[in-house]
Each structure stands twice: as C-alpha cells, then as structure tokens.
Symmetry: D3
Subunit: 324 residues, 6 copies
C-alpha cells in the first residue's frame, strides 16, 4: 500500500535533517501537475494586512526552516502520515510587497490552481489577511464553507485604522463575499479585542464565538464539542492563527495576547475536531523577527503535522473500513 | 456618561497603534494638576536595589513601548475601561542612578504628589525596591495598608549581601516604618528563597505566606479566598512582581524562578480579588535586556490593564447600583 | 543669549537619562503652535513601501528610545547645540498601516504643517518611501529642491515588484512631480542595485551618482567636494538612509548592503557638507527588529545630532559675524 | 550537625551571587580526593552525538553561569540542602571535539574516578550521548541499573543518519552493553519520534514507555506511580533531557518538541519519585546558543537543585529515624 | 547573447525577493545533468570538524535565506552576472552528523559529480574541514592546485585536541594527500594562532603566509600583488573563511578573531586577484546561531556574488576579445 | 627557561577549549599566596556606578567565558606569552550590589592584596567606577601614577545626576585623592560628552586630552607618540574602556558612542605604547546583556591578551639583553 504514495519526504532517520533545500518537511517541490498528491503546502508571504508588528512575510520561510525537524510519525494519533498521504511543497504564491490587493490576487491564483486540481491546500502565512484569498479559492470549488478559527482575535472588524482590508477585517469581508456559511462557523480563543462589542458584532455576522475565558474554564473537550455541534457536516476551512497560543509558546507573532493556550491544548483541540470534513487549512501570523529560538515557527509546523496526522488517521480508518 | 471621562487613550481601532509618543496606552501625558483623572501611571526607573541581574530601570520604557497594543476592552470582565475610568501617564519619577535612597526620595515625591491629589497610582518598576517609596506615599494618606503581593520571593530579608535596603528587604522595612498592616497582608507565590526559614521570618513579621506549591496544588480560587479572608476590608496596595509568573511567560526579569504561574492563572487571580479596596498598585521587575520578544513587557502591561478593568467593572457596578 | 532658546532638552548631566517619556533627546513634545522652535522632529512610522524586511514603522520609537543618550555637546564641531537652536518633538504623523498612499498623505500633512510654520523638519523613518511626502511639503514652500542622498541604493526604479510606489521608486516619482531639481541632486554610496543599468537610469533623470566604490577609493573629502559642487547654493533636503553605513555599523535595516561606510566616515561626510543651505532632513530605514544591541537606532540619532550640530555651528558663526 | 558538612556553597544571602568564578552553585572546585563529598557535579561538554542543532558542548558552562542563582533552600521539600549534603564541582571531563568515541572515553574516566570514590555523580551535558559513558561508570560499580528517563525522545534507535552512536541510539547501546536492567527501566514523555514503531522497538528492548500523551491525560501522580512500580528497589540512574519540558519552558535545546511539560510538572514528577535508590543523575541537551534569556540553563540547574533537595530530604529523614 | 544563458535567477526587480523556496539567489534547483550550467552552488552542511563553537552545519541554509537579497548586478565590476554566466543550486551534499569522515565522503561525492561535469563548484560551508573533500574532487580533475586562503587561521596544525582531522588541520592533510601545490599556495589574514611557531610550520609545508598585520600595514593592493605573484598561472581553489573578516562584520562564526578586515577590504582583495585561473571556490564557517542580524550570512552570500561577478567580467572580456 | 613559569594555561592545542571551569584563559585559580605569579587577573563585578544601561557586573564572567578562546601566541608581537610570564586568575573581588562605596572597598581590598605581593593586576570590570579602587591599591604601593585612558568619555565630571561617585566622575576623584599624576596622564578617544566644556574641565585637572577626532585625523602613530611624550617614564596604570571601540566592534557596553575605533586600531595603539612602565591595567564596561554574539567580551579578552603580549615581549627583550 505505501508504494501507492507518490510524494513523501525522505526518511529523516536516514537522511540528515539539516541537509537539503528547505521545502516543507523536505517534501518534493512540485510546481506543475499535482496528480498523485493529496495535499499541497503553499506559502503566502504577505504582511501588507498587518496593523501592528510587520514581518510575517518571512513566516513561510521560517516555518520551512524548522519543518525539517518534523517527522512522519505522530504519537498522539499513532499514525505514520506518509503511509496514507502524499504531499508536496508548491513554493510560494506571487505577492506584491507594496500592494495588498495585488498580493491577494497572487495568493488566490496559487491556491485556486491547486484546489482545482483536487488537492487539499495547506497555507502558510503571512498575516491573517492571506486567508481571504484562500477562502475565495476554496469557495469557488466547494461553495460557502464553514470556518473554524483558532485565534486570539476575531478579525471581523469593519475597518481598522482607516482600512477595510486588514488582517483584522477579513472574515467580515469573507461573509460579505459569500465565501463563508457564518452560521456554521466558529471562532475560538478570542481575548485581544478593542472593545467588548466586538464579540457581538461577530455574532451578528452569524459566527459563534468562544472567548478564551470559556475555553479555559470549560476545557478543551467542551470546546471541541461546541465546534463539532456548530459545524456539523459542513465542509470546513480550518484557520489557525498562531497567536491562539500563549506568547510563552508562540512569542514570534505580530499581536501576541497573554492568557492563551499551551501547545498541548492547541494540538489536542485540533485532534478533537478531526472528524470534520476539511477542505482547506492554513496557519498564519508567524513572525520570525520575534522568534529568536524558533519555537513559534516550529509550533506552526507541528500544527500542520498534527493536521496531516488527522487526515492520515481518517484515511487509515477508511481503508480499514474498506477491508472490514 | 462617557463624556464625563476626561482622559482616555485614542481609539486604537482608528489611530494606528505603532504611531505616536510612547505614553502608557497612549494616554495623555499630564504633569501638573490631576483633576479629572482617576488614576495616574508613574514610572519608577530604578534598579539600584537589585541583587542579581540589573537593568530594570529600563522597565517603564519597555512597558510603555508594548502598551500601545493594549486595548480599552477587557473580555474577561466584559468591560470597556475608559467608559468608566479616566487616566493619565505622569511620566517617570526623578531618580539617581547611583544612589538608591535618593532615588527612593524622588519616587516618593512623585507618588506623593499624585496620591495627595486623590488619584490612584499605578507604578511601573523598576526593581521591587521602588514599592517602598510608593508605600510611603500611600500610607501617608491612607495609614498602614494591607499588602497583597504576587511574587516568587518574599522580600522580607533583614539584610542581603550586606545591605539593609535591597529589593529583597523592602517589606521588612515597610513593616518597621509602620506602612503596612502586616496582619492583613499576604504574600503569594513564593518559591525562590535562600533558605526554608525565610517563610517563618515573614510570618513572624505578621504576613500570611502562600508558597507557590500551595497555589499549584489548591488552585487559584482557593488562593483568592485566602487573600480575601486575610485582607478583609483593609485598604490595599497590590504589588505584582512579574517573576510571580513562570519564566516561560516572563523571561525578562532579574531573578526568574521556575515553577511559576501562567499568564492566565495570574490574571485570573488578580480578577478574583477584585473586590478588595485598592489604594495603590504597581508592577515591577521587568528587565528589557532579557526580553527579546517583549512578552514580559507586554504581560506587565496586561496586568495593569486587567487591574484597570477590575476598577472599571466596580465603577460600573456602582453606577448600576445607583441607577437601580 | 541662551535664554532666547525656548525649547531644549533637560540637562542630561543633571536629569537621569533613562528616566522620562521618550521624546527625541527628551525635547519638549509640542503638538500645536511652533513659534520659538527652530526645528521639529517628526516621526513617519510607515513601512508600507518596503520590498524586503518590514518593520521600519517601529523605527521612530526605537530612535527616540536610544536618543535619550544623545547629548547637547558635539565635540567634532565644538558646539553645544542648544545654545543656538531650539527644537521640539512633534510626535508622529498619522499613518495607515495597510494603505501606503494614505500614510503618505498623513505624513505630508504633518510635515506641511511644520514647514508652513517655518521650522526645519527632521524626519524619522520609516522606510525610505516616507521621504516622498516630506519632499512634497518642503517643495510646496521652497520650490524644487536639491536632494543630497546618502544611501546604498538609488531608489529611482520605475517599478519594483509590480508597484510604482515603493521605497525603491520614490525619487523618480519626486522628479516626475517636480519636487526635485535633479540636476542639483546627488546620490552617494550606491552599491546594492539590481543591475548595472540603474546608475544610468538615475543619471538620465538628472542625478549625479557617486557609487560606494568611488567614495572608498577617493575619500570623504573628495566626495564632499563633489556634493558641494553639484548642489551649489540650491536649497537642500538631505536624506540619510541608514543603510549607507556598513551592516557592521547599522545591522538593523531592511536591506543592508556590505561594503558600506563606518560611522566616523558617514558623520564626517555630513559635517563636510555642512555649508549647504538645508531646508529639510530625514533619516530612514531603521529596523528595530534586527537591531538587538540598538546600535543602529543610536547611530540614526547620532546622525540627527551631527546635523543639528552643523546647524548650530552655522548659527554660531552667523552670530559671531553679526558681532564682528 | 551542619559542621559535618565539608563542602557547601557560600551563603548567597551574604556573598553576592554574581561575583566569583562560575562553579556549579559556587561549590568548591575539587579535582583530587573526594573524601567528605556526597556528590560531585561533573560537566560533559560534548555534542558530537547530536543529529540536529549542535552547541550543547557549551551547556555545562551555561548551566554553571545561571547556577549562581540557585539557593540552598528548597521550599517544595522544605529542606536546606547543605545541612544534609556535601558536594563539589569537579569541573569538566576531557573531551575531543572531533571524535565522539574519544570524548566518551574521557567522560567515562571522569565519572569512573568519582564513582569509585563513592560519591554520587551529577552529570551536566552535553548532548544525550554523554549519558552512555556515565552509565558505564555507574554500572561498573553498581551492576546493571534501572534507567528513569524524562525525555521527549526514546534514544533507542539502532542507527540514525548512518551512525550507530548518536544521541538517539545510546540507550539501545547501553542495553547491549549490559549496563541497564531494561525491565526495570522506564522512559517518560516521548513525543518526538520518527515513526510510531519506535515505541514498540523500545519496548522490545525491555523498556516501559509512557508517551507524553499519557502523562498529560493521566497526570503526574499516575506517572510517578508507574515509575515507582516499574523500578521497584533497583538502583537507579535518573537522566533528564531538558527537552522533556515544553519549548516554552526550555527553548534552548537541540531538538525541542512541542506538547511538553511545564517546569512545575517536571519538578513535581522528580520529587514524586524521590523514594527511588539513586546512584546516578544527569541533565542534558541544554543549548545555550538558543537560550537568549537563559531560562533553559536555569531550569536545568533547578532540576539538579530539586534532585539534591530530594537527596537531602531523605538524608534528613534517615537522621530523624536514627534519632527516633 | 543572454538567451544562451540557461539557468539564471528570476528578475528580482519583478519577482518579490522574500517569496519562494530558498535556493541560492533563487537559482534553479538542478539535481541531475548539469549541461548548460557554468557553476553549481553546493552546500556542505557539516560541523563535525569544529573545535570551538559548533552549528556551522546550518550555514548553507542561512546563506541561502539571505541570498534572496543578492542581485545580478555588481557595481564594483560594472557587470550583470547572468548576462555571462549560467548557474544552479544543486542542494546539499549528504552528510553524517556524527561521523566526520563519512560526511567528507558525501561531500566529495557531491562535488566530484559536479566537477566531472565540468562546472565550477561554489561550496557553502559548514566548518572549514569541508574544503578538504572539495579539494579532493577538484584535484582529481585538475591535479594539485594552488590554494588561495582568506582566513584568520592557517588550518595546518598536525593535530588539534587529539584529532588529526579538524577544521584546523585540513590543509596539512591536503598537502600530504598531494591535493595542493603548496609552493603556489598562499594564506592571507592569519591572526588567531595557538603559538607563533604555527606560521613557520605552515611555511615548512610550502605555503606562503601573509599575517593580518602585513595586510593591515601594507594594504590590499600589496597583498593582492603577493597573491598573484605566488600563484602565477596555477589553477586555483579560492577558499574564504568568513572569519577573515573582523567580528564586527562577521560575528556569526565559530572562532571569531578581532583585528580583521572590513567587508569592503575583503571584497576588494577578492576582485584584485580576479585574474587567477579559478577551478574551485568556497566560503565557510558561517554560524547562524551567533548571527542574530544575519549580516554574516549575507556577507558570505556577497562574497559569492563578488566571485561570480569576477567570473562574469572575465567572460565578458573574453567575448569582447573574441569580437575585437 | 619555560620551566621557570609556574602558572600558565593548559595548552589549548591539546586541551579542548570549551571544556573546563571558566577562569580567565583557563589560568590556575589561585586565591592565596601569589609567589611565582607575574600577574593576577581579578574581576570587579560592580555596576553601581553606571548612569545609563546597567549590567556590567556580569562583565567579568562574560569575559572569562570567551577567554577560553584566547591563545598564548600573539602574532602581532611574535611572542608566546607564557614562555615569559606566569599568571593566575584570582577570582572576583567581593562586592555589594546595592552599595557602591562598599563595593569599592571590596575591590580595593582584593587589588591591594595582590599589589602588595608584587604582582601586576589585570582588572576586569564592571563599570568604570571600579578603576578608582584599583588606583587606590596601585598608588598605595607606587605613589601617584600616570593614567593612560582609552575611552569614549573622560569620566572627570564633578557630579553626574546628583552623585559625586559615578562611572563618569572617578578620575576627578582620583586626582583629588592624589592617586594620579594628572600632568603625566592622558585621555584618548573622547567623543561622548555632555558639553564641549568637559574637555577644558579635564585639562584644568591636568590631563592631556586627545579627542577621537584627532586620533582619526592624525592616526594611531601620532597618538601613540603623544601618549609616550606625555607619560614619559612615569609608572602607568592603563585603563581601557571598551567603549573606546566603535559600537560595531563593541556593541555590548553601557554607553556606546559612534565614531569610535576598530579592533585593529585599538590593539595597535596599545602595542605602540608598550614601552611604558606599567604597574596596573584594567578593561571595563563590558555589558553582556547587549552582546548577543559575544564579540565585545572577546574583544575585551583580546585587549588583555595584547597587553600580556606586550609585557612578555618586554620580558623577552630583557632576557635577550641579559644574554647579549
């Protein structure tokens, strides 16, 4: 069966991890036809939507640099990812460092091309604004999707500092564009908001909001339950803003917010909603310039690895069911 | 009602956060008459009392730098601070970099001036020795107060390295000077002590001591209960040494101590004792030179923000009661 | 005579440097009428024009932080600045983090307001694109000016990465807008160019270009001579991109270029052209996130201090001439 | 009784901590006869066995640098270590930076010399490969011992990147050499493995394995119970890989793994197995080049301090029993 | 003519530099047939030969990360490199993190394969020991070559810390293996030696040695003259240890030595010997863990760029001669 | 002859440099009788006299950490130090972190003890105030000495920020105490002064002052000549403030000043005045918290090594003269 897997990393137990060009997990760099790939990692090196610290445009590169340490095995789900999945690194979308809308067009093109070919896209940000063009690509194929958002913020302001298009407004824009089924969408971990009215504004758009406080007080399992219940069987785009995690665990981000979650909690939450029907995924807001020990970039890579493990475990379960 | 609020920050949803002179939260810088202000933030840039890493004199500046990211809204208490409170940044006290006692005199003058005008002072340290002159100013107006101290240390040694006045001796000095009602005072989070006798020595001064171990094992709510019970209705100065938090959450401090608390735990504890009658507050021991990702400075700012939210929520409750 | 000086810093020999709100050199923060001021420092916290590392929006704050170490005395010119000059910090221009043109409008407004009041403006960047709105303000009052540019780059591309407005295109735009007298303008220190044709393109716009190689081989005095000769008696805006200096001296910048100049060489060059008729000045491209030891921010402050000393020495010379 | 203690640190309440040559805890540096010492700290500055980030050879020095902040008192166990224990710093083993086997010979000699003299050795790594020569020294005296391993990895691969001797293979080698009683040995905290089969391979060697997931889900007390049950009354070498802790708490390590443990959890686990019969101890994989705030080095020192406190508390209990 | 150039980077004036997989200069990654390439960049991520700080194995990746800022144009030589040269990134050699000799075999294989195909190899270290296998590959094709070595050290010890194969012994080994024509070889910049006899030892092997002092006192041109005179028309391998530069310019290296050279001096020296007949080139000893501002990695890339510009200028001169 | 040398470092060509307790250059740590030693290195870990960034108290430790890379051989003077000199590390003076005068007493005691025993002391600071107690010890034995000061500052203010005893006032104090023969003393490199009158004030005390500008414009040799001429045959204490060097070369210092000197220039100047009759030496103001790449600490160590080489070369010359 594994020989059916076309694209996988070198075996890191054999090939030295610190050697080689930095593709994500040292997966093959495939720029053309995606036949034979289940997923494609695509960088979205754009930080034109940021309203505080900038520099997230270097996020994809930093994530790839540490991703060479990621391994195929995932103990939490007891699965070896590349026995069940085939994946590639597709490089980065074309961006325009001085024109956010133009960058978004480039990102949309890159994701659209992959989505059309039927692979699941794994976006590496970039500031959170890069999720908007990803949703455009995803919704073009799948129709309005549910959003599951792990994030210290809601990103549903109407305008921020005079702009309607920032990393803090994109999910309002996505609703307005009809990309999301807000009623099936849920925002988890909010704690850094300009005012207390922001939650209400997000709810008025249709989103369910679980502030950080509720996650802390009711626990990861309760939270997962709320997510599963809200989304149901809707197709889902899962977006993980690395600032969902506490700054202790993810210092390298543009707008860190204290009172966040540990790496264990975040990965557990991700696994706990593994049963959803994912059609898109991204991790955003890694800021290498504030990540001197690289733990943020590595955590972002681990979030991707956990997500891939979820997919692999489902694929395995499917195969076992077939054989059953 | 909000128009009764004289001093508040710009609306960060409108004004770009990274623009502007760095006052705390971009509050107005008011150096003279404080009429119309409920609180005044005052820096105490002094590290002459430190016995290990120095550099905390740059703490106030570092806290202000990151404080531009703080927002008026506080989700944990569901309150918008500046609907209920008016506050200013008063700049820094005058200090003498080579004479600790002279620095303390300058700090006392700065706080005394504000306390006399009836505003609540928010001190930004500086090493923990700066709390002593603050207590002098507070006690001059309010008489001996209860101390609530979140700290990895007790700071009640008699002498340290040959000096009677260090950041490790000040609360003994404060008791001796009659500034504190030690019987109503409580020290929470102790774990970094030279010897096991130190707790006993602190207790002999009258303090109640809750070591870190008890907080970990019995929980935040139990701890809050012990604090409320000890202090009762005494007027309180709350002092937060940033090393109360684990070094993972607050690496930038002079004497970090492992086995500490998460940012969530610390802020929750603070909220949980919100019912106390506060007359003074400070956060100390931020060391920018060991805070490359600025998470410590930001956490210190968040501690202040949480405290302000507590005050605002009480003010709101009072107004609602009035209207009731 | 000194009592005629309205705005000056505290005497740093008396007032502790690390205490106090961080205005530039701890000058008074004056936001309204500028009567009595010779110069006004204005921050332009904008990095929307950057095409490589971003983060220069935090430059003004970082320069101010280290500027508290700057002193009134300048040994190289044997002058005490504030015996002859009066100056203020005007804070930052309003910017829009996600809209470069809007930021430029805000910057233009801030500088225009000061220029109109007859003070010389000292701009603190920000990426180099912020010089464009400064030139608009300067040229509105003074007509097309000569540009003297110390810079590793020319910033006269037509487009860069698909944008016509970046930190690499602004001086072409300035020529097109009629803000500059390019024939009287000179670019010094170029070494980081995409292609060798770039110099020719700049020359075709009218600029004189002195590549880094010529400065190294012919020396600072020769270079100064070329500048003086080119500019003549034209009114001058002097713009210093901190990447003029070698990365050893100024690591904290967005596009460092090796083979640059020492701090001594740069300051000497600045002094050597002190006889020019300056009507505007700025220092740009300080990137705090890559400046862990703060030497870049401090160097930028020293560049300003040297420029102020040049002005002061000229003022002194004028006074002495009056008395003569 | 205390006067029977031959070697102890200066009293840090008297002697300034940041003064003096950096021996561990400022203990006496004793290179010859160890009579009168209960334990000896020995550095193993070797990173030739590392397969990812190197630099752990500077670990012993970094641990010593921060160890001057360690204190004799331990609140968790309510014991003053040097009332019951006498200890020295023996400096570092001789190593060969370019020959791992030669380094291991030097390390074995250094530990063997101390073990023969009957003192308990405290090893400071170095990459985890340095535990192998320590086990050789320990087993020569005590016969095959039980291993208790706190670690994100298992280190029981057969080969890694073409080498049979790396920091990832040493415990397989130790079993093959008859140094360990694998049936009595236990590995706690595993989460970073190349494949899911690695646990089975370790179990086939005889080890009991408790993955990180089980520790998180069942708790520290359950884990301690499993350790005590597995080891029984076997003599034990306890090895703590600092990557057992989450990267938030220990960023400075060669192969950080997210989803790890807090400092409080780790120290509690250590205390909870204090009843074991320890004959060797080491802490490894501190990487100073990725530890800008020194919190990893300090945590490693605190792990040693907690272990010494465990020993001291047992010694005290023994004395009390004698008196009883 | 340019259309004859098969492999070149994207035009960085069009394609955003921070986007894309990090190959050197964003050159095509070509792993098979090298037809059509003039040069091939090959990483040698090995630090098993280091005797002080380790971590240079991450050097190739760090150089590539910053190399995206390198441009085709070189002003010093007034040449656009890729009008005359075609080049690729071949990725990294296979290395064994725990076995230096095995790593050297892998490096030799990688370079040998490229050298056999007739391309000039550009090695990116790694510690200086990686030059030895490069010389083996070069000498296999070209016979014993002249070595031109820019370096703070001589690397001709017989043994170092008990090993005969370290980054400090390799050029003695190369002489013994007959890879070098020592009489035609020259070592420039020496200043960090264990004893004053080391120069004599190097001279006894046949090398000409120019200590740093002579370069400083007699200048770059004199030094270049000595190099040209020594080497004559011998085929040359030029090896640049980044520690040739002063730590101010290249802090990120394993054994920095003060009293070194500026970036301008080093690049000028390189250009000044451009007339030599180069058959191999490498730059080594970049240590990313000590390069927080990336200036060392960038300088290493600039050294390569300057070397490529030298080659391009010669190619241009040849073409012009052909046309003449 | 070498066997007459009692105390020397291990041979670093044999003993691995990164192994071992960090004494200076890994010299023997000798705390009692100094018979057989020519020099003694003594740390003065005190920063209570600092008026800007603090943290220099950790300087001695940081210098020692990097000093393990220093070698016995000095190429510039062609001498192997420990063929002619015997030296020890004496550890640190006792200091009081919160009482500057008490620290000075401890430092004076430590140096006095060594000076009395007839060894030359090598002080490692600490802020520059630590030179005052060293001068007391030196002058007690040798009478008033000449001071040769390499420094960006003069340190002859009368008071600074309200204190008469700071790192900026000590040489005025030394003159007042009769420790210096100011007429024979010389201050080289001044550039960071509060006002232009400071030079005059220093000259009025008797000092000769050579500002940085003169050194730059007239060169190292001219400067050396001025020093030799001023001092004549007076006994000399040479004090090197690391801020004499430009921040590019020595970023890790409390009050960096741009426009300074390269490492080559500084060491050359030191060698050029080697003929003076030295009776004391220190290097001060190393600030590890701002020295992430350790180049400042290493430069400080190299300054000591160069000074020792000067002494060794003189000793050699004397021996050769004896034999002549």
């Amino acid at each position: 069966m594994p020989d059916a897997i076309r694209y996988r990393p070198e075996d890191a137990r054999v090939a030295t991890r610190f050697a080689g060009i930095r593709t994500f997990m040292k997966l093959p760099w495939v720029t053309g036809d995606l036949t034979g790939a289940d997923f494609a990692v695509i960088g979205a090196p754009c930080d034109g939507g940021t309203t505080f610290r900038s520099g997230a445009a270097f996020g994809p590169s930093a994530i790839r640099e540490m991703s060479v340490m990621l391994r195929s095995g995932n103990l939490n789900l007891d699965v070896d990812i590349f026995r069940y999945l085939s994946g590639v690194d597709r490089g980065d979308a074309e961006v325009n460092p001085c024109d956010l809308r133009d960058s978004h067009r480039g990102i949309e093109r890159a994701f659209d091309d992959a989505v059309r070919q039927g692979v699941l896209t794994i976006g590496l940000g970039g500031d959170h604004s890069v999720t908007l063009p990803q949703l455009r690509a995803v919704a073009r194929r799948h129709g309005p999707v549910a959003l599951v958002q792990f994030d210290a913020h809601l990103d549903t302001y109407d305008t921020e500092n005079g702009s309607g298009l920032t990393h803090g407004t994109i999910f309002r824009r996505a609703v307005e564009e009809g990309l999301l089924d807000a009623k099936r969408s849920i925002q988890v971990g909010a704690r850094g908001l300009f005012g207390t009215g922001a939650i209400r504004e997000s709810e008025e758009l249709g989103f369910t909001v679980i502030p950080a406080k509720d996650v802390h007080e009711r626990g990861i399992e309760w939270t997962a339950g709320r997510i599963l219940e809200t989304v149901g069987d809707r197709k889902v785009h899962l977006t993980v803003d690395i600032d969902f995690f506490d700054p202790a665990f993810a210092p390298g981000t543009g707008t860190p917010e204290v009172g966040g979650f540990s790496s264990w909690e975040g990965l557990k939450l991700l696994r706990s909603v593994g049963g959803l029907d994912f059609v898109g995924f991204d991790v955003v807001e890694v800021l290498p310039s504030h990540d001197p020990t690289q733990i943020t970039a590595y955590l972002a890579g681990c979030v991707v690895q956990e997500f891939l493990a979820v997919l692999a475990a489902k694929r395995r379960a499917g195969k076992e069911a077939d054989r059953g």
